[in-house]
């Protein structure tokens, strides 16, 4: 059986990408392939990722998180991967959570497993918590799916989910769109607690409150767009 694929969308993550890749490679009993999707970075993200010995796909223009994940999904489908894990490039996730989430997918016969930061007792920074709660509400209002962490970047998908999920969002609104696709395709969803690592760097990289209205508008457009 083919190894799971860890998919890391990255934009200007030269400072962190090497340590993120190494953390996955050095995790005990974790036998996976890694694919970085460089989303038109203007720094050395591509070169550093390539030197780490992993597969790197490169967007010639920056298209956004959603587009990078969609490229990774396309690559995974072309290479017949049975399990794909999305993993943030900013060092927010623990590589040691990957195996547990994959096991949860298999044990629960789930199609999608979401790593939820809010299921963990560790407190989230207030602003990040607020953005998350607003996003959870928007996801529920627009797509009828309730989740404790709609913006989680640590997710596991099986082959069925990969084949059925059609991503149209370009940027960070993709996190909510994934739940829409889960609902539309009646996929089995399981949430597992994960332990996030909050640093000044990773908090700087994530969703911003000032972008909330833009993301919400994009999700509304998504519902009416023709393609």
């Amino acid at each position: 059986m083919k190894k799971p694929l860890i998919l890391i969308p990255a934009f200007n993550e030269a400072a962190k990408i090497s340590s993120v890749i190494k953390s996955i490679q050095q995790t005990q009993n974790l036998n996976v392939d890694i694919c970085v999707v460089d989303d038109g970075s203007t720094d050395q993200t591509y070169e550093i990722a390539e030197k780490s010995g992993v597969k790197v796909l490169r967007h010639i223009l920056n298209r956004g998180l959603g587009a990078a994940i969609a490229t990774g999904f396309e690559y995974a489908k072309n290479r017949n991967y049975g399990i794909v894990v999305t993993f943030d490039a900013d060092g927010q996730h623990l590589a040691s959570d990957i195996k547990r989430l994959i096991n949860s997918l298999v044990d629960n016969k789930a199609d999608v497993v979401i790593g939820s930061r809010l299921k963990n007792t560790m407190k989230m920074p207030i602003l990040r918590n607020l953005i998350n709660k607003l996003s959870n509400m928007a996801t529920y209002l627009l797509f009828g799916v309730w989740t404790t962490d709609s913006q989680s970047g640590l997710r596991v998908f099986n082959r069925k989910a990969l084949n059925l999920i059609k991503l149209r969002s370009e940027r960070m609104e993709v996190s909510s769109e994934i739940f829409k696709e889960i609902s539309r395709n009646k996929l089995k969803l399981v949430e597992e607690p994960i332990k996030p690592i909050y640093t000044k760097y990773s908090l700087n990289k994530g969703q911003k409150l000032s972008n909330a209205s833009n993301v919400f508008w994009k999700l509304i457009i998504n519902k009416f767009s023709s393609i």
Partner: protein, 115 residues
């Protein structure tokens, strides 16, 4: 009135541009009918304001000019919405193209770092 003459000249010019665009196949017949219809209706309204007053009376609005403004605002917002969707569709097409290039370059082994 001078404003009627100026607006009429502009609207006739606009209609001529729409005709040229459909002749060179840069807009569809559907778009041609919509824009021509809009500009011709506006031209009639400008040349004979009693038309807008008549419409205003039917709709229960005070003045013909108010009808024109209300309808214009609704039309503009609708067109802005349609434009937003068209822009998003274009963005998606660009991303699709960037994706194809990324996967094609991967197959061909392009972007390999030289050591």
């Amino acid at each position: 009135m001078i404003i009627q003459i100026l607006l009429s000249i502009f609207l006739i010019f606009a209609i001529s541009r729409v005709v040229l665009q459909v002749k060179s196949a840069r807009i569809t017949w559907g778009s041609f009918l919509f824009w021509c219809g809009l500009f011709i209706f506006a031209l009639f309204g400008v040349l004979d304001p009693r038309i807008t007053t008549y419409v205003a009376n039917i709709l229960g609005i005070g003045r013909g000019a108010d009808v024109v403004i209300y309808i214009s605002i609704v039309l503009i917002f609708y067109m802005l919405f349609r434009l937003s969707i068209a822009i998003e569709d274009t963005r998606r097409e660009i991303s699709g193209l960037v994706r194809k290039i990324a996967l094609r370059d991967d197959k061909k082994g392009i972007h390999k770092t030289t050591k």
